[in-house]
Symmetry: C2
Subunit: 470 residues, 2 copies
């Protein structure tokens, strides 16, 4: 169903020529979807450059009975920003100003459309750290990070996006603006509305601005790749890291041998820094803002102790920034490396940290029993219990035939996740992709409460219908 | 209006003789209110000992059209647990078991009625820290801490109660049980229901259980009292503390000269550790779980630098556990010391950290202009922007006449708080006491959203009516 011409005219009047895209060539990047699982069909993209203009777009669409899909950097992995022909995409890309920054108070206020990497730089320029860090940081926008409560590699130390946000500005589904741009550590004056908008994937309102926490910039960093014989030892290493470093562990990432092999084989400039092969690796990073801290010594002491206790069997400490970058390229290149060895069925799951070994063992056994030759590549942020349980196809199998078994594999893996009290979407959110899975695994009571919240905030169903709640 | 006898009978049948109090003598402690601002009049206190029994109490009351007041340790400061004659108090005191503790995974699951100090001990017994710490910790219950999102002295380093909670179990206003007892760092599967219940002061449901975060226990602590000439220097000291210690600052508490004087004069065993008087003091505590960390040296280096930069004019480092306890007694005894010098009009407010000096200056000037001789005693957790802006009466003034000016002083102080983007209730919540102030300062839009949330969760208005939302 094409959009009503009078709505398009009204939007054009509000947004001006740069603010409204209707040319198919211009629309293309807004209609692609990161993993190719969906094909958008929007014919209109609104690109307001102010909160007031955002509000006007929402108001006009609500009035016309047209639904909206908020879109930030369009890097989401669950189809939460995909629009159909009858919908309007509201892109926040032109809302990209830092409103203020207060390095002494460790705060900044920003527009929703600021690119994450830009915010990291803005913070670094005043001697601070904005710790949110994830693969898409060069193009994802902070509004999308907030809407999906993005995770990333620094959650163990700094928390999820939710934990980095003190205030929000939100355009509600009727076009009114909620000014919750507080910069307070403590504010117990009623219901936690901010928390409700964070992670709601644009279904309760459009985030247009945020007040974010900053931290003292790290003065020292130490990075090492540890070789580990089995999964229980991975957990023991994490415990040692936390207790021996004063909680200076910033990252604790798991890499399986299979991941190392495909990364070395297919990624430029990635090499195995250790002499012999090992079943598992943990990429451990410590950092501190303590001036004069000798983190290299702390890391050496930690690894020595881990070696003595037979928790690790070998380790390589990054001796330079280049070596550190090399270790991170190995870790962050895993999804790309997997593309070189066939189809991949993916799971973004979490379990309680101490159950990570059990989960990986059970899930690997289950999928291998169902499809002999399947190659599990469980990697990721195991320091916070989040495993990207990705499954590479058996060698020689037809890729399409393999990918046809996506739902079967999902069910096997998610059943084990549920049994261990875990989450079927640890950091990527629900989007359209996992609404069905949510209905399968959430209690009817929780789904009912979510539906009541949706109805309380968006009774007309204007904002991102079909996402998160059905 | 007395309670219907058939409801009381039904409750008795569910709860047994120990589970239902109706004797006036037994009821007394449930009807007192911490500050004496309210007098409860409940004739029935239900004391269920299981989640199922809690659910049955809620269901029976909802069915009978009788409203409920959840009560934990009854230490709240805003009248949120005060019941009238027609209401039933649901006391969680018999729900006091630790369900499980996982020191390696840094988690524990507990009943809502566990006393905070008991949980601190349980964590310490397995080498961990549960960092929530506040004046009432010897009797307040974790369910109440969660319901009010309690703050306390360790927020700067560990966050509010909200930040320490991973999962909740809640009895909904219709008696159904929501099992959200997750132990996950990452879980992006829908709306943040847990966050909504936290801080809602028992108005959306009854918290019956929680999964809490633990941390490595501190291996070293260093505590000092710093003398400071003016408020801007207090802020500069905080900045130095954060940047020079690797964010190991656990507490940063402000004490004014007037507070020191009344504490020394009226509290047993409190003395001024510094030779000459100073306008302001900051109680600074560093702690770390890093084994072998020489925090004394870090503290000395920090104070040396602060002295060189003329940020502090003197300091006393606690050289023993006794001296440390003495410094904390000074800080924590301030509310008690104030009772010795007349009536006190209190404000639990916060402003952005960097605006603390401006707030204290403006607010002190405003109240002094309105009532010459008034003695401001601003103290508290300024490291997180939270000032207990307490005002002692002018010497010689009639106490009742002074306390009659409570609302006038509130208005003066809260207007300045609002002007600086602050909160009129930083950590104590809204209760019944601040509902009016909330209506004065919150936007109508925010009040409307809160009312919609209340209606979505508790359409019949069963849970704690008159608290938070009107």
């Amino acid at each position: 169903m094409p959009l009503d011409a009078s709505l398009v005219e009204a939007l054009a009047a509000v947004l001006g020529p740069r603010g409204l895209l209707t040319d198919p060539g211009d629309l293309a990047p807004y209609n692609v979807e990161e993993r190719g699982l969906y094909q958008g069909a929007a014919t209109v993209v609104a690109r307001p450059d102010s909160t007031a203009a955002c509000a006007e777009v929402v108001r006009l669409c609500a009035q016309a009975g047209v639904t909206l899909v908020p879109q930030g950097g369009n890097t989401g992995l669950c189809g939460g920003a995909v629009a159909s022909a009858g919908q309007v995409i509201l892109s926040t890309g032109r809302m990209n100003k830092v409103r203020w920054i207060d390095p002494d108070g460790y705060r900044m206020a920003v527009d929703a459309g600021c690119v994450l990497a830009d915010l990291q730089r803005v913070a670094a320029d005043v001697g601070c750290l904005f710790p949110l860090s994830l693969g898409a940081e060069g193009s994802c926008q902070i509004g999308g990070n907030l809407a999906t409560n993005a995770g990333g590699v620094a959650v163990l130390r700094y928390g999820n996006t939710r934990d980095l946000c003190l205030g929000l500005e939100v355009v509600l589904p009727d076009g009114r603006i909620w000014d919750g741009m507080r910069a307070l550590d403590k504010d117990n004056t009623g219901y936690a509305l901010r928390q409700l908008f964070i992670g709601s994937e644009g279904t309760l309102g459009l985030i247009t601005g945020a007040v974010l926490k900053l931290f003292p910039a790290p003065a020292a960093t130490a990075t090492a790749l540890c070789a580990i014989d089995d999964l229980p030892r991975v957990s023991r290493l994490l415990g040692l890291c936390r207790s021996l470093t004063g909680d200076d562990v910033t990252a604790f990432e798991l890499i399986p041998r299979f991941g190392m092999e495909i990364a070395v084989a297919h990624l430029d400039g990635v090499r195995d820094p250790l002499e012999s092969p090992h079943p598992w690796y943990a990429l451990v990073e410590l950092s501190t803002s303590r001036p004069g801290a000798d983190l290299a010594a702390v890391m050496e002491g930690l690894l020595e102790r881990a070696f003595e206790e037979e928790v690790i069997s070998d380790a390589a400490i990054a001796g330079s920034l280049d070596q550190r970058a090399g270790l991170w390229r190995l870790r962050e290149g895993l999804p790309e490396a997997q593309k070189h060895v066939g189809g991949s069925i993916k799971h973004d799951v979490s379990v309680p940290v101490s159950k990570v070994p059990l989960f990986i063992e059970r899930a690997s056994a289950a999928v291998s029993a169902a499809l002999p030759g399947i190659r599990p590549c469980p990697f990721g942020h195991v320091g916070d219990g989040n495993i990207h349980f990705n499954l590479t196809q058996p060698e020689g199998m037809d890729k399409a035939a393999y990918l046809d078994r996506w739902e079967e594999m999902n069910r096997l893996v998610h059943d084990i996740v549920a049994d261990l009290g875990g989450s079927i979407s640890a950091e990527h959110g629900v989007g359209r992709l996992k609404v069905g899975e949510l209905h399968h695994y959430k209690s009817p009571l929780e789904l009912e409460l979510m539906a009541r919240v949706k109805k309380a905030f968006d009774p007309q169903g204007v904002m991102n219908p079909g996402v998160v709640v059905d």
